[in-house]
Amino acid sequence: MSGPGAPKGGRDPSQPRPASEGWAILSYMIGGMALYGFVGWLAARWTGWPVLFPIGMLAGLASAIALVIFRVTRS
């Protein structure tokens, strides 16, 4: 993998990203939905508006997607 032109010890940028990065995305999706879903659930219980729970989950999903985009498109 790491040829002479590759950064020392790191991944060769000319090579395609390994599939494990795809697996890592899964943990962002679950993490985002779990965290902001929980926040939304708490807010829904506190305010009595149940709609805040799904909104929280969607916000979590959105932030997870944003994280993935930043992670993949940087450098």
Binding site: M1, G10, P18, S20, W23, I30, G32, A34, L35, A64
Partner: protein
């Protein structure tokens, strides 16, 4: 087997004989203790886990007891296995500098693989990894390992910062994204690592049970015979699929372990 559905089927429970399909359930994954050591009940999955550890130890001891420059026999096979893990799993993630983690990844890969393969060995036919305790224990070991490596290579604060601050994200969005990044890196990673292996092995074993039991249950000299043959064919096909899954899940587990270690050591991923 400790479960009731297998017992009732074996006792001649067939379709049209007035007995219902003895559907496999989660009870098929609970075993009576074989014996007790100091208050700890030893069940079949525990025996299988110890056995797979013993098999790996014995195999690699025999393979590399007297290593020769030109490998023969068992050493050939052992080198094949180690080189596969090194080239297909470790170096894909860590490059050459990761070779010091080779023993760890090799142990993880073969331990998981042998425990999975037990689901296909006749008379054993139970994957130890379909009990959540084993994947969870392994994931905990992996978790402690990559956190320790990360803290060693960057210091506790530097590592914490890397886990909390997603690279490439503009600063104003950090309050929203940092908690997700942190949660995903610390809690969700080991959780998904364990659940993925556990759920795959559980569902695979359950599928084989469903069709294996059905091909015996549906067997009768009637139209049931046709169903029985179909079910038996499906059992064979699914067994082939399971052969693939056992290796694939071990591969994914080891790959992700290497990836987490790489993520903890790399300065910029």
């Amino acid at each position: 087997m400790s479960d009731t559905s297998v017992m009732t089927t074996a006792s001649g429970c067939h379709i049209f004989s007035g007995c219902g399909y003895p559907a496999p359930s989660i009870s098929n994954f609970y075993f009576k203790p074989i014996f007790t050591v100091g208050g700890i009940a030893i069940t079949k999955p525990v025996v299988l886990a110890v056995l797979s550890g013993a098999i790996i130890l014995a195999f690699f001891y025999v393979a590399f007891r007297k290593p020769k420059l030109v490998p023969r026999g068992t050493q050939n096979l052992g080198e094949l296995g180690v080189l596969f893990v090194r080239d297909q799993i470790l170096r894909q993630q860590l490059g050459r500098k990761g070779d010091k983690y080779l023993p760890f990844i090799v142990a993880i890969f073969f331990f998981v693989w042998i425990m999975n393969v037990f689901s296909l060995i006749p008379l054993i036919q139970f994957p130890a990894t379909s009990k959540i305790a084993f994947p969870a224990g392994l994931a905990f070991v992996v978790w402690v390992t990559y956190i320790t490596i990360g803290m060693k290579s960057k210091g506790p604060i530097g590592y914490f910062k890397q886990m909390a601050v997603p690279e490439g994200a503009p600063w104003w969005i950090l309050p929203l994204l940092s908690p997700v990044e942190l949660l995903s890196n610390i809690f969700v990673r080991p959780f998904t690592l364990a659940i993925r292996l556990f759920a795959n092995m559980l569902s695979g074993h359950l599928l084989l049970l469903v069709f294996g039991l059905a091909s015996w249950y549906l067997f009768s000299l009637s139209i049931g015979l046709l169903f029985s043959v179909t079910s038996f064919l499906l059992t064979i096909i699914l067994t082939g699929l399971e052969v693939l899954i056992t290796a694939l899940q071990a591969f994914i587990f080891a790959t992700l372990t290497a990836f987490y270690i790489a993520d903890a050591t790399e300065t910029s991923h």
